[in-house]
Amino acid sequence: MNHEQAQNLLPAYVDKELSLSEVVDFERHFNSCTKCQLEYQEQARVSTLIKNNALYFEAKPELAERIESVITVDLSKAFPQKIQGHFWNLNWPGSWDGIWGSKGAIMASLAALIISTSLFFATPSAQEKLTEELTASHIRSLQANHLSDVISTDQHTVKPWFNGKLDFAPPVIDLTATGFPITGGRLDYINGKTIAVIIYHHNKHPINLYIWPNTSGDSAMHATARKGYTLVHWATGGMNYWAVSDLEATKLVSFAEKLQAQVSVN
């Protein structure tokens, strides 16, 4: 590789976007070129500067509410009205279906979600309240750096830790083989009850799995989102399960499905 080629690839080297063979090729020139090394330092410096100092503009909660309300109302009414709005005039590529349609089937797991309408609409306030409470608890556990009372990657350490602390025995399922290792457990207080939380991780993303006894019937898996976090709920075998994480919904649902499958086997 000559100097010019190396200069062209330099940003990708900074961003660790080169393939292994490209890196080998690149470094053969880079290691002996002071000019390229200086350029690398400059690129890396600017990159870090932006990462650490540029403003990240958070959306205000009112914007979320506004969007929710527009989407929730009857679309046939809401949409034409918005199109006539002050700046939207379609020059829309209209080809999103083509661009994205080729990517394959609908996520099987999400499509397979059965939405429990009775759960969702019969008691919206109780359900809403619980969802809020779980999200708040999840956020608190991250902020206070108080994810775990017992830290262990071994289900056989975590499981007995709950003994005598609760009047039920939460299932502690090992999912290490599928990429969701246990990292600990703790007690938490949700909906007026002391409950069990098992902490899993997936690629550095923590998952709080809340478990407590269920007095009503089983419910099918159900995903929702709050404040940028995903929540997946289901109830089987006399237990309520809520998984909360910042993972993509598809990932968290896949976690929940694996867990559910293991619980029913055990």
Partner: protein, 183 residues
């Protein structure tokens, strides 16, 4: 798709990325209100076209729509694309940010605050084709592949824009620093 399931899926896959959408819109556009309008339109678009979304990356899909919405609006209004955060907004947010990061370090606070302001100003002055890839890469932590998909450009273009953008930003920043950061 059943309407209820559609809403539920939309909630799970798209809604969580509201802040990413707003951050991008805000860095592309001229002000808070404008960014909110763009984001709201983008979400409506996203919802309308959601049946056709079969991918697995809701964030990239949504950001693509935000960007499209912005450019449509921008072409119509033929306005300059220099992003200009309102002064008070820039200062207000900066203060919050600084106070979180430097709470134990008051002596470096002033210096750091000043350089943060300069950096954000410099980023605003960067031409939009560089600014957008930098926001996606450095603030949203998207890969070249994701950015290429989102913008419908080759990965090589993503790479060269990032390289040139960083160089240009360094130049702008140097000029500002040599001015003593005078306001």
């Amino acid at each position: 798709m059943n309407d209820l399931i559609k809403k539920q899926r939309f909630h799970t896959i798209v809604m969580p990325h509201l802040s990413s959408a707003f951050n991008l819109a805000r860095w592309l556009s001229h002000g808070h209100q404008e960014a909110e309008d763009i984001v709201q339109e983008a979400f409506l678009r996203a919802f309308k076209y959601f049946d056709g979304f079969h991918g697995d990356d809701g964030r990239v899909w949504l950001l693509g729509i935000v960007r499209n919405t912005f450019y449509t609006w921008y072409q119509q209004n033929k306005i300059q694309t220099k992003s200009t955060p309102y002064e008070d907004e820039l200062y207000g947010l900066e203060f919050e940010m600084t106070s979180i990061r430097d709470k134990n370090n008051p002596e470096t606070k002033l210096i750091q605050k000043n350089s943060q302001r300069l950096l954000n100003e410099a980023l605003c002055e960067l031409p939009i084709e560089f600014r957008e890839v930098m926001v996606m890469r450095e603030l949203e932590d998207l890969s070249y592949k994701q950015i290429a998909e989102l913008m419908q450009i080759p990965m090589g273009t993503v790479m060269s824009r990032l390289g040139r953008g960083r160089k240009q930003l360094a130049t702008i920043l140097l000029a500002k620093t040599e001015n003593g950061g005078a306001k």
